[in-house]
């Protein structure tokens, strides 16, 4: 199955969505963007809740534009589940099921056997979302749309349901559009990631590419690249350009830099720190010395801001607790920051 959107457009008063071109095969496309960027509009158009002003949408070759919701064979899991409150969990699933056996097998698959006779109001958030998922799957849709199904859940339940979704998606052979504003969920579940901004798609690609090779400052910031600097390309041999950020000179592996004014992006997770005496000049990484300006305990990792000795830039990175403790990090600790050459990404400046 393939879902193909082409030149899709929709205006609501001040807000313009599109034109959007997008092809989704039997894969999970995670749609990530800030609130109000048009994520839900995209789903509404595909589901048939909103009518596009222009463009076409083809699912498995069928044109969806003009088709009423009920004839699209597009399943949608709504944000809070949208369960029918006057029906039990079983009745909700039966409402959609084409045959009776399906209810039983879906209930087993989604671990709902114990709650089938309960009304939605008495279910927990995670149970509600699982019932909503079972109800949608009961129709055997040709495409599946999910609108932030995990956003209202507590962390441990969210993680667990996310893992269940991961397994479920692997067993589905249909296009899945998964809308979220949470970067971790998007990268974990998406085979590809689409970053949405102001009604348009800013970048599409595999999660690791989008994270490490953002095409704009917006994508960089939204996918967690906190180290974004203005830089100047000073040298551009074929082995990789050299870029200056303030007084810091960084070697990169980028060989095709069109401009000399660039935005330098370094994802915090790509940077490692070590004690100054551990530094090894021969490694193919940029080593910068600095001191810890601030640290924050984020639970499973520490976030540290390092003020570089040369120049006025501050690098942010995250450090696992064992490293944090081994280096005895504290405000003022001197350390060496390693920035691998290939982790430095350059975006040409347009201004």
């Amino acid at each position: 199955m393939t879902l193909e959107l082409s030149r899709l457009r929709k205006s609501y008063g001040q807000f313009d969505f599109g034109p959007v071109d997008l092809t989704v095969d039997d894969e999970v496309l995670a749609v990530l963007g800030p609130s109000g960027s048009g994520k839900t509009t995209l789903l509404s158009l595909v589901a048939g809740i909103a009518v596009p002003d222009a463009g076409s949408m083809r699912l498995d070759g069928r044109e969806l534009v003009g088709l009423p919701l009920e004839d699209r064979r597009v399943g949608m899991v709504f944000q809070e589940g949208a369960l029918f409150p006057h029906m039990t969990a079983r009745e909700n699933i039966e409402y959609a099921a084409r045959d009776g056996d399906r209810v039983g097998s879906l209930a087993t698959l989604l671990e709902l056997d114990g709650v089938l006779e309960r009304k939605p109001a008495t279910l927990s958030g995670g149970e509600r979302q699982r019932v909503a998922l079972a109800r949608t799957l009961a129709t055997d849709p040709d495409a599946l749309l999910l609108d932030e199904p995990l956003s209202s859940l507590d962390a441990p339940i969210r993680k667990r349901l996310r893992d269940e979704l991961y397994r479920l998606f692997e067993s589905l052979d249909i296009p899945v559009l998964y809308v979220t504003h949470d970067q971790r969920t998007a990268t974990a579940l998406g085979d590809r990631l689409a970053i949405v901004r102001d009604g348009g798609i800013e970048q599409v690609g595999p999660p690791s590419t989008v994270i490490t090779r953002p095409t704009s400052r917006f994508v960089a910031r939204f996918t967690g690249t906190e180290n974004v600097f203005d830089g100047t390309v000073t040298d551009r041999p074929s082995t990789g350009a050299t870029v200056s950020v303030g007084d810091v000179r960084l070697q990169t592996t980028v060989s095709d830099v069109p401009a000399s004014a660039v935005t330098v992006c370094i994802h915090p997770s790509r940077i490692t720190v070590e004690a100054p005496d551990e530094a090894d000049e021969n490694r193919p990484a940029n080593a910068v010395t600095g001191t810890v300006a601030r640290w924050l305990n984020e639970g499973s990792e520490y976030r540290i801001d390092v003020e570089c000795d040369a120049g006025s830039i501050t690098l942010t990175t995250n450090v696992r607790p064992p490293t944090f403790e081994r280096l005895a990090l504290a405000n003022g600790t001197e350390l060496s920051v390693l920035i691998p050459r290939e982790s430095i990404h350059l975006i040409p400046e347009h201004e």
Binding site: A47, G48, I49, P68, L69, E70, D71, R72, R73, V74, G75, M76, F78, A82, F84, P85, H86, Y95, A96, R135, T136, A138, T139
Partner: protein, 249 residues
């Protein structure tokens, strides 16, 4: 200072409540129970009750049948057209009932072409049960529309989208999702319309002084025979109002 204002507010509210309750209690204190039972079986009272219940039932059915689709449309539409239509629906609500009677007479009265034709066909639209129904429907049906509109609005439209995305059409969605969920609100609107219809006086006096409905009968009894003779019908109507109230809660 805060305490004083709170007390003043409580006293004001309490006085208003007393103003509602005391006259009702007083009515029941004014009449010996035995008398009432005897008078309630009086043929005049029975006739009026029959006319009222029949006409109010018919008016309510008409109001519901014609009003629900309009209410649903109002609930699911936005913009200037909706506002205009809503204003038209509210107008009969803020229009004095006697004026309602007058405007209906200009269309259905014996002097109008429609009224003349109806009389010629042996089905007069004034001074007849039809006239009562026309008057009650004009005055009572907006209650169904306005209340059912609110009831439909309280049903999250996402639920309707969910139903349809599960492959069910508009009709099944309305029958199995929207109507069951809006049910209590719709029932409230139907009840209000019935209560308004059975209490209708001003427009009915204009359109159909005969056959006498209960409110008209109260007036006639009061004018012709004095206050005491209006009690039996009044007590019947209080009973119906209390029953309506029970449905509303």
């Amino acid at each position: 200072v805060g305490f004083d204002w709170l007390s003043v507010a409580l006293v004001l509210g309490g006085v208003l409540l007393l103003y509602y309750v005391v006259p009702l209690v007083s009515l029941f204190l004014s009449v010996p129970a035995g008398d009432i039972l005897a008078q309630i079986t009086n043929p005049t009272v029975v006739d009026a009750a029959t006319t009222s219940l029949l006409s109010a039932s018919v008016s309510t059915v008409i109001a519901t049948l014609f009003g629900l689709p309009l209410a649903y449309w109002l609930a699911r539409t936005d913009g200037a057209v909706m506002k205009g239509v809503l204003a038209v629906v509210i107008l009969p609500l803020v229009l004095p009932p006697t004026v309602g009677g007058i405007v209906l007479l200009t269309v259905f009265g014996p002097g109008s072409p429609l009224g003349e034709a109806a009389v010629a066909a042996g089905f007069p639209l004034t001074r007849s049960l039809a006239g009562v129904v026309l008057a009650q429907t004009f005055v009572a049906s907006p209650f169904v529309v306005v209340t059912a509109k609110a009831a439909f609005e309280s049903v999250d439209q996402t639920l309707e989208y969910a139903s349809r995305s599960l492959g069910e059409g508009r009709l099944t969605t309305a029958r199995r999702v929207t109507l069951p969920l809006a049910g209590p609100g719709i029932l409230a609107g139907v009840t209000l319309a019935f209560a308004r219809a059975i209490g209708e006086f001003g427009a009915t006096m204009m359109m159909a002084y005969y056959p006498r409905t209960m409110p008209v009968q109260i007036w006639v009894a009061f004018i012709e025979l004095g206050l005491d003779n209006a009690y039996p019908v009044a007590i019947l109507l209080v009973g119906i109002a209390v029953a309506a109230l029970a449905v509303l809660n």
